[in-house]
């Protein structure tokens, strides 16, 4: 698994407490942080920026959980031919790795990683053949690319933006391969927002 290097920012030492859906800092943590902030020559992140970063990571994490569940539905559908199934399982594995990275990063920042939902309401009744499953998966990957495009500029911490961009790159490749498998132009443009 890739490890995200947070040493530049000393964020790893910061402690968060989860309080009723809101992330708040304990008094001790704030004291510790104020020390870190003044000792740290790099532009220090404020608590607010840090909380925002954690929230963005958790939203991305939630989308990755959904992707893993969606590929599971596809894999268990019995609609995929062996070659396509192999690719689907591989892509699902990537999303699992994204989860590991995002969740461990949230923890490192002192936050609580979002868990997968108990249940996803995928439009399974619309999945009747391999093409439907591929179209569904391609749509999810396309959406994920956009979600990262919209999220990355929000990160206060450049290391987090870099890690998220590396995930975006992987998901864009998934999308291209799925489009190729559908007989569509795999790379239908130069820019994607």
């Amino acid at each position: 698994m890739t490890k995200l290097d947070l040493k530049n920012t000393a964020l790893g030492r910061r402690q968060f407490l989860e309080t009723g859906g809101k992330i708040g800092l304990s008094g001790a943590a704030i004291a510790l942080l104020s020390g870190v902030n003044t000792a740290c020559a790099e532009t220090p992140a404020t608590n607010l920026q840090l909380e925002t970063d954690v929230r963005i990571l958790n939203t991305a994490l939630s989308a990755e959980h959904e992707a893993v569940a969606a590929y599971q539905v596809g894999a268990e559908s019995g609609l995929l031919t062996p070659g396509v199934l192999k690719v689907a399982v591989k892509f699902q594995g990537h999303h699992k790795e994204h989860i590991d990275l995002l969740a461990s990063t949230v923890k490192k920042l002192g936050g609580k990683p979002t868990d997968a939902k108990q249940q996803y309401n995928f439009p399974v009744h619309q999945l009747n053949n391999e093409r439907d499953v591929l179209t569904f998966a391609a749509g999810l990957e396309r959406g994920a690319v956009s979600a990262y495009v919209g999220a990355i500029p929000l990160f206060d911490n450049g290391d987090l933006a870099k890690a998220a961009a590396s995930i975006l790159a992987d998901e864009a490749m998934h999308w291209a391969i799925l489009r190729q498998a559908l007989g569509l132009d795999p790379v239908p443009g130069a820019f994607f927002s």
Partner: protein
């Protein structure tokens, strides 16, 4: 007096023409791809569903776990509040979990909102 009446009629005419032109929401629908990483019209995902969002009080769709920030925002979703939110969600609702930088082009936001307005019970995507 007559001039004033004419002016009002003219404004009404122009407005209805604009409204007529706006029935095509294909541009907004294409822009909606920026939302589909997290949202679907008809079911909750990472973000809440969008069917019947216009006219609704923020953070009131059943079965979605909203942030306190959005729950306490007091926002009613109409054209103007959506415009402000989509321009910069985190600025309008600090603490929201909608991790999206926003859309800085007004024209695009308006096209997208016009598409959102069509997501009512008559829309097949909401059935």
């Amino acid at each position: 007096m007559i001039t004033r009446y004419l002016a009002i009629t003219l404004v009404a005419l122009v407005n209805s023409t604009i409204a007529g032109e706006n029935k095509d929401v294909s541009v907004g629908e294409q822009l909606y791809v920026q939302c589909t990483g997290c949202h679907s019209p008809s079911y909750h995902r990472t973000g809440p569903k969008h069917c019947n969002i216009v006219g609704k009080q923020a953070a009131t769709a059943k079965g979605f776990d909203y942030t306190e920030a959005l729950k306490n925002s007091g926002i009613i979703w109409n054209f103007d509040s959506l415009d402000l939110f989509l321009k910069n969600p985190i600025k309008m609702v600090p603490g929201t979990s909608m991790g999206f930088i926003g859309m800085n082009q007004k024209q695009q936001r308006h096209e997208l909102i016009r598409f959102l307005q069509t997501l009512d019970n008559n829309n097949p995507r909401c059935q």
